[in-house]
Point group: D2
Chain length 340, copies 4
């Protein structure tokens, strides 16, 4: 059955698979010191135009969020996030389990706004009880957000400004980064992220790899970050598994090519639904599209095509998510058109 339920339902994109096959017989170093991890690191630094960056490859997203956040914060500090942020909702409390409070901010279609961030910080600074509170020290944003939306360049600059004013680290969760960077509405790129973020990651699991996320500290990683990765169980002994994949993704522009496919298919999918008069829950420019279905229609569609039920919408409607990915084809969209 045609399936748009998520963007990690397939294997690896062909260049990644080819690289795994080609290198399989080679003997390499381990724990991040293999030649492919080193190559991937250099290619990512070049793509970010951040020659001083430190890059680390980690197997999964929650693991990356938990490792980065808990390694960058002191024990009395917390991380600000949209209330809809993945770390606040769908990571089984991994950040709190590591000892850190997620300080929730209101969301606007998944995004935080610099003004409310500023107001929070201002309130904290002026609170006479602040020694009895959690010190906000990091801002977590996702790009695209959990609702498929993206921040504009100016929105990000405003957030960065507040971060500078209040000495907050900016951490961008790029689990679906490619789909954000390659959509029509996007006015930023990797080098820009490397300029404004203290740390961000480039998602592989959802963009063409079997697994893997590339953490980028554009300036400098925390001291002994490798040991902190190890301590949190996030270090793959056979690190080449991640190195080979990211080396392939960042050769010949593969990462952006396949991400563009995901974004383009999403545009077609969106148009397909719009043309048929479907109502959208959110105006997402990226590979996740949120559509409002009558519950009857929902039941009917579920027999024909895979998608994800998101949340109830009033009494008799439901928000559902259709996700495209690097592997979605134009044929898939055409087939979908017939079914809806």
């Amino acid at each position: 059955m045609l399936d748009f339920s998520c963007d990690y339902r397939n294997g690896a994109c062909q260049p990644v698979l080819d690289a795994l096959i080609k290198t399989n017989g080679e003997t390499t170093a381990t724990y991040g010191f293999d030649i492919y991890s080193k190559r991937a690191e250099e290619k990512i630094k070049a793509a970010c135009k951040a020659p001083d960056a430190e890059v680390f490859l980690i197997a999964g997203g929650t693991q990356t969020n938990m490792t980065v956040i808990s390694s960058c914060l002191l024990s009395y500090e917390g991380v600000l996030s949209a209330e809809t942020g993945h770390i606040n909702c769908h990571e089984s409390g991994a950040v709190e389990h590591a000892g850190y409070k997620v300080l929730a901010l209101p969301h606007h279609e998944g995004k935080i706004c610099a003004k409310e961030l500023m107001a929070y910080m201002c309130g904290f600074e002026n609170n006479p009880s602040r020694d009895h509170m959690v010190f906000p020290a990091m801002v977590y944003i996702s790009f695209p957000t959990e609702y498929g939306t993206i921040y504009s360049k100016s929105e990000l600059l405003e957030i960065r400004k507040v971060c500078d004013e209040y000495n907050l680290k900016l951490f961008l969760d790029g689990a679906r980064l490619g789909y954000g960077l390659c959509c029509d509405e996007c006015d930023i790129d990797l080098p820009f992220l490397a300029q404004i973020c203290d740390v961000f990651y480039i998602g592989g699991t959802k963009v063409g790899a079997l697994c893997g996320e590339a953490v980028v500290f554009p300036k400098k990683a925390p001291a002994h970050f490798i040991t902190m990765i190890k301590q949190r169980g996030a270090m793959l002994a056979k690190s080449r598994v991640l190195g080979v994949q990211f080396d392939a993704l960042f050769s010949d522009g593969v990462y952006f090519k396949i991400a563009k496919n995901g974004a383009d298919r999403a545009k077609q999918l969106k148009k397909t639904f719009a043309d048929k008069g479907y109502e959208f829950f959110i105006n997402s420019p990226t590979n996740q599209q949120f559509i409002i279905l009558d519950n009857k229609k929902l039941e009917e569609l579920q027999t024909k095509v895979g998608f994800e039920v998101w949340e109830p919408y009033g009494e008799d409607k439901t928000v559902v998510r259709f996700a495209t990915s690097w592997s979605t084809t134009e044929e898939d969209i055409k087939e979908l058109q017939k079914l809806i």
Copy 2:
């Protein structure tokens, strides 16, 4: 200067001080096995009409909240609390530091409502992603709340009903319990709390003791709770310090007598402000009174009497808190009357 800034600005009430003096030269056992801790335990069980209860004395409130919550929850579980709950706002993230997420519910003058609790649980149970979420397993309420309000018997029974339906533990923070139980509006008592709570504590620090909170598990404490107290640094070697104080507080009804004084003085204080036309932020029946002051008036009053600045109220007003306690006298109120 006359001071209503908080309810822990004085030493101990006379019976507690007398007991400390009287027992000072005695030799006792330690680590909770001293005769005074045992006596206090028995008297508290009697006052709760809970013969099977297990009682533990701990030095402070945040320590008690953190120890109880982290000892009762499994690692994947979290605690529901009003967003204004002390554990969510003013304990420097102690619960998260211990590894547990505080799941915030809307507050209504500091209280949660059973209906919203039910809705939260219902949403969680029906969420297809719930394995990726924090499992709500405990409800934390404070009595009185951080805004001085109290739950009625029927409100508590409704909350208990939701707890029963969803297998949630109910934990009541009684840092100011006496002032709640002894105010005019209160329609519950200790035995009732022992019936509906899985665990609660009777605050001593704010009600006549030098320090100390009595944790009551009406049915059964978690196995090896003593070791968990020790592990969290919450065990006083010279446990008699707490034992002697709670033994005195629960002899001859001292705890309730002195708490009643705090509640009665609050009533007078409230009337005093009301008579002079002051505006109240919240209609609190207990020892914390929240008053709205013009910022000019605020500055003027600050030179005459001690109180706590709570939060801004619009552009040119401020919410302030006046707290009475076991040590507040009628003379204090009369003097206040002249100053405001």
Copy 3:
């Protein structure tokens, strides 16, 4: 250069690689619900003759140890381990970072002995201060150990007996399990492990997979273990990556065939060194061989072949480790013979 430095320096064994290639284009479920993870689970249960077992696939070893230990213990409990145990030495304190004390026992060529375990438990039970101590609740053993040695059936039964007597869980770290089960000296098998262990894992990273360890709870996993995996960052979204690999490893006896190769090559390697008069640090029957080299010889050999420097041995000698693996060939051994 010929390389015996470790057993995770190559890619995947051919059947695993073939399976990854073959399934790459398929669409599957995620988070452990994909058909390959389910198949792997069933095959592993069959291989263990443990129809009620629960099996979980996790990406790496430290992650597995930390997740299993922290999910099985209550906060006041600790895990007993040989002082040389991987969790005690080479996981950057991951177990302690998760909040649990590793209680070190003396080691005998990497193994603990039932008698000393019994003595420890006896001492604990009789210690009047035990409420102020960490409660031993789990025994961690590795098979083979960090020194390549293995426990005999009778040794394991004795350890199990102590576990039964003192209500200890038995956890066996099988990062190199195949090499232990397939060596000549071994008198146990997977079904035996499933009978005596409360939980163990079958290592893939070091035995033919790109990554992955299969955790087996022969009777029953802790409730909501999936959420605890997620919370510790140890859940791969694209779980098929592990499922496909373990499905292949447990089809047609692949796991045991390739492990047998590693064990057989180790036997040849051992004989090769012995024939040339080299001294052994430990009489290891598995794929890790520990040899004592003069420091001059060490320097000479390092230019010719890859191996790991283990530890100094007196003033002018050094212990080194040569590891074979599923990928070591007879030709490798012959070539080594010429070099040493």
Copy 4:
């Protein structure tokens, strides 16, 4: 019954009790900002001749150890301690619960030796796997030790030298500091400790207070240490309880006077046992004396006088502990003489 079982079986010394009585009716600030805490702080800084020191008052010893250690270490760091150290044995794993590994060193009558510390650090620095290990970052010593012994000035200077060489923080647990500083064999004082330690604490619970330990950072405390105290539940709201006590203890040399009494009584007690031919387990110069008793004698003595059973000594003997304290009188010793 005469009781030498421990040094925290009595109330407070008279000057402390008097101060509590005298100040009871006063109104003070809270959370460490009360005038008595401030005065105590100044007096302790003067006694330490450390004008830049930061002093914090905390209720109990395990709490202090856990708070100091977890506030001073980064997540990948650990604390070195004698295997017999209190943090390693009798705090229910509080340090590990806070996420930090205790790295055990051999003990010599409770003390570590600079040479072995150096060897450990040297081994760590040279270990090629050190990124996969816990980084030693702090040395924990107790003065007197858990066996009543004390370090000499030269021993401490040697330890400090290793700390300097390897960038280790030195933390001294002074739960019984007074008894160590006031015994005949001691050749150091408070100002010396302030010179060589990065942090230490002056015990009150066992030296004349109802409760309380004074943490001294001679140079500088970690940033936001107050919030870290709060977060660990270690902050008393009514901080005057500790402030008044330490203010009294550090007025008119009270602390040293009463500690000297404990040390002098121990000397008499030791002589009493020695004169009667009893065998000593350890030659302790401080208030804890460890004596070896035939098990028959043990049973007989237990009916006459309180003491603590320490550990078995061979087949039919037992080590027991007799502790004197600030409250032990010459009459107590005379009475003991008649009983043994």
